[in-house]
């Protein structure tokens, strides 16, 4: 699934990374807890989170996440957007809550990080 398809499915707003929407996303994982993201994250993951401060972007960069989708309409802070631009990490924001966001993506065929063998 491309980031563009994900954007449309989640009716998401692109905060930064408009030129990376053709990127292919193959799995995702969701958590507000960065400690958990660091424990389960794998390179290439689409990170779904409700944590909107800059640590979400730092964490995404550390684990080589492909992009971040903020749920429940959350918007990253200035520092987060700056960091994301620096490291080329697209940021999207959707109005859907975490449960619905995960459900929509999963039911459209995007596996979770735990489904990877």
């Amino acid at each position: 699934m491309t980031l563009k398809e994900i954007k449309e499915l989640l009716k998401a707003e692109v905060i930064t990374g408009e030129d990376s929407l053709d990127e292919e996303i193959t799995f995702a994982g969701g958590s507000d807890l960065m400690s958990d993201v660091l424990a389960f994250g794998k390179p290439g993951i689409l990170l779904l989170t409700g944590l909107s401060n800059s640590q979400s972007v730092r964490t995404a960069n550390i684990i080589d996440a492909k992009a971040i989708v903020y749920v429940r309409g959350k918007q990253p802070d200035e520092e987060g957007i700056k960091l994301a631009k620096e490291h080329g990490i697209p940021l999207l924001s959707t109005k859907f809550m975490m449960y619905a966001t995960c459900g929509l993506l999963f039911s459209h065929g995007l596996p979770g990080v735990s489904d990877l063998s």
């Binding site: 960065m34 660091l38 390179p43 730092r58 964490t59 550390i62 684990i63």
Partner: protein, 148 residues
């Protein structure tokens, strides 16, 4: 083991400065990538040092990371000055945490940090003196392949 250092660099961490939290780890990751360390080691080392850096930001006054690379190993040493850890055995248990609400708002403090550092490292040593500080040695072997 050879003492011959290919690269040695120090990074300062300021305790309580949540705005800068993760900066040192991000720089370390860039360096490791640049000098061509195996990507699977880069990611494990980045995760481990980021967790460790967050611990300093959350709990200590200040800390210094020393990155040493020899042909055989990548050694991240983190020495902090702060409250230290009274019971390391307990702190190593997943889920054990003394985090404040501020730390949790940053997405940390779930009691996963130290266990996750250990999980990612090839060798991990921790010593702590309560009231003084904590020292971590996080080591990755560079000649081993097929790790993870």
């Amino acid at each position: 083991m050879s003492d011959e250092c290919v690269l040695s660099q120090k990074f300062k961490i300021e305790g309580g400065n949540f705005g800068n939290a993760g900066k040192a780890s991000t720089s370390i990751k860039e360096i490791l990538k640049e000098i061509g360390i195996d990507p699977s080691i880069v990611i494990r080392a980045s995760i481990a040092i980021y967790e460790a850096e967050m611990n300093v930001v959350m709990y200590a006054k200040k800390g210094i990371i020393t990155l040493n690379i020899t042909p055989e190993e990548l050694h991240l040493k983190l020495e902090d000055e702060g409250q230290g850890i009274a019971d390391i055995y307990q702190a190593m248990k997943e889920g054990f945490s003394t985090a404040t609400n501020e730390m949790r708002e940053m997405g940390f403090g779930a009691g996963m940090g130290l266990p996750n550092i250990k999980k990612n490292a090839d060798r991990f040593e921790i010593t702590s003196i309560p009231g003084k500080g904590t020292t971590l040695d996080i080591i990755f072997y560079l000649n081993k392949t097929g790790n993870q």
